[in-house]
Symmetry: C2
Subunit: 352 residues, 2 copies
């Protein structure tokens, strides 16, 4: 049974304005200044365990050309355009129903093992990552279980949802007790001490048949739309049908639609240096830094007496910063932000 990878790449990255904009969001940016964008790094991470013909990207119609340009190895028919954002359940359903249709048309095994992943997370240890994913794939291949990869927490993070596992024994597959929303700090501290709580990284492993039947059971309205769309897959009518029917899907997350309802959810703890790079602060932490702790990405940036800054410059030719401590300096396409790292939660209100 072949593995398929579904990369979800529809986010708009508004916390990273102006580096990330709705026209060209974070997952398509070389945020670390290492020569590969986040979605390219996601692709690279799976390449040893999945042929590009079995990789799929679901993204906004606006980003299809960017994906084609950044991931030319993926067949363009595997790049699925959402005419409107409908959260993760319709996104995942779209890819899975499309994979199912391809398998039907190919006439071989009608089932497949699938990994669903965000496009914009960072993994510092891809080999360990692939070991965890392979364990999960081995497990789902022989069962109708759903596996969500859990990240072993390293701090009482209040910015993530948590997975409450039934035990923390070993590194293997563990049954999930329940999912927890983003906690307050005291709760996050207790989760960390408890040891049975893992970060929910939004990485899912399941068989095609499992997710299809789970969606049918727990999100039947989404499954019905997909059944209708699926008849048009690989026909001349495909684009028109997608554009007409996809937006009629309910806006619903896969967590709410399936994960919190299915009795058959497992997790596998991962300890592979994961970060969702969800804040400028975490971007700074995960970047190469100079002796003064500044993470600087840009062609010609010179710092004097600066420390703890994160600088991301795209189009300026030459930048000199002096006497800044713990600031964000970000520029792209004629937009410039200078902002304290401690104020980064205000960035959303700045981009009117």
């Amino acid at each position: 049974m072949d593995n398929h990878i579904v990369i979800m790449a529809g986010g708009i990255g508004s916390r990273f304005w102006p580096m990330s904009t709705p026209e060209f969001p974070k997952q398509f940016i070389d945020v670390l200044g290492i020569g590969r964008t986040l979605i390219q790094m996601t692709f690279d991470r799976f390449l040893p365990i999945c042929r590009p013909e079995n990789m799929w990207v679901v993204t906004s119609a606006h980003y299809v050309d960017i994906v084609k340009q950044q991931l030319p190895q993926i067949p363009s028919e595997n790049i699925l355009a959402e005419p409107a954002a409908r959260n993760t359940a319709p996104c995942i359903a779209y890819a899975c129903w499309k994979i199912r249709r391809r398998l039907e048309l190919e006439g071989g095994d009608a089932d497949a093992n699938i990994v669903v992943t965000p496009s914009d997370a960072l993994v510092l240890n891809p080999e360990q990552y692939r070991r965890v994913i392979s364990s999960a794939l081995d497990f789902t291949a022989g069962s109708s279980a759903i596996v969500t990869v859990g990240i072993t927490p390293t701090r009482p993070e209040t910015g993530y949802g948590y997975i409450h596992a039934r035990s923390n024994q070993g590194e293997g597959i563990i049954k999930v007790q329940e999912f927890k929303e983003k906690p307050d700090l005291a709760t996050a501290v207790s989760y960390l001490e408890d040891g049975n709580y893992l970060w929910n990284a939004g990485i899912f492993v399941w068989k095609l048949s499992t997710i299809v039947s789970s969606l049918r059971r727990f999100a039947p309205s989404v499954a019905e739309v997909m059944d209708e769309i699926a008849e048009a897959f690989y026909t001349d009518d495909e684009s028109r049908v997608i554009e007409t029917l996809f937006p009629t899907c309910e806006k619903i997350s896969i967590d709410y639609a399936v994960m919190e309802k299915s009795p058959d959810i497992y997790t596998i703890p991962g300890n592979f240096g994961w970060s969702d790079l969800g804040t400028w602060g975490s971007l700074r932490q995960n970047s190469a830094k100079d002796a003064d702790g500044n993470a600087i990405v840009g062609p010609s940036v010179e710092q004097h007496e600066c420390s703890g800054c994160v600088v991301h410059v795209s189009d300026l030719k030459h930048v000199v910063i002096e006497g800044l401590h713990d600031y964000i300096v970000a520029e792209k396409d004629g937009r410039l932000l200078i902002c304290r790292l401690s104020s980064e939660q205000r960035i959303k209100e700045f981009q009117k």
Copy 2:
């Protein structure tokens, strides 16, 4: 006798990088964001007392086109290009010898009253300025005196040279005792208390015949080069001769060449809101400021919790600054500087 105005516009404005660059320096910039550049404001200031045909600009050959574009009222033959910078004495001599040649060719009065002024200073009260200049012109018209306009000091400034006047009685013309270099703070305080010391603003008033004979006497080598050049003025050979001979002039300031040597130097105290806008701090002081004391010039600059900043943005489309206090933010042509106002003396070392 007609008045002539000589505007010296050869400076490179290196303290204001990157707003000001050697390619497009400060005097050609609308530094206050009011719709007129500093050299245009200098022109405007003299227009009520001088016809444009009697205005002259001496500048680097690189800036001639900028001057023509910014001051189209001044005849292009009055825009004098220095092939190389040779400090103020050759600059002033060039203009005065040229004026003399024009008067000779016109066959009328061979003398004229002349004001020499920098192009990049600010005058907040131009009417009062013109009253002072007119008094000086009245005085020099009937004498062979040299008048240097002195600015009544308002603080113990260590960044300017001082004029030691013989008395501080009244607002009229006073004999100059001596010129003083930039003082240390204690000396500057004593100058302020003394009351007989004025800032040297580099504004000179004299008759053509006076400055020509003074240069002949105190800087004969410069005068000799000018005599040779003058034969080519208003001929086809002019450019070639200037390019060949002007660079052979000694590099010498008018202060050192004439002012400190001539026995016939007077000053007239001016109290017309003068600033040489020599620092970002003085630029901030002299600009319109928001309620938080930020002086912001630029098309779309938004500040949150900033104070005491000076922001000058030329090409960026949109700028958001947050949490900056007493900083310079300056951008032009793809170059960006963010620097504490207290560190602005370091800007010269930043622009390699």
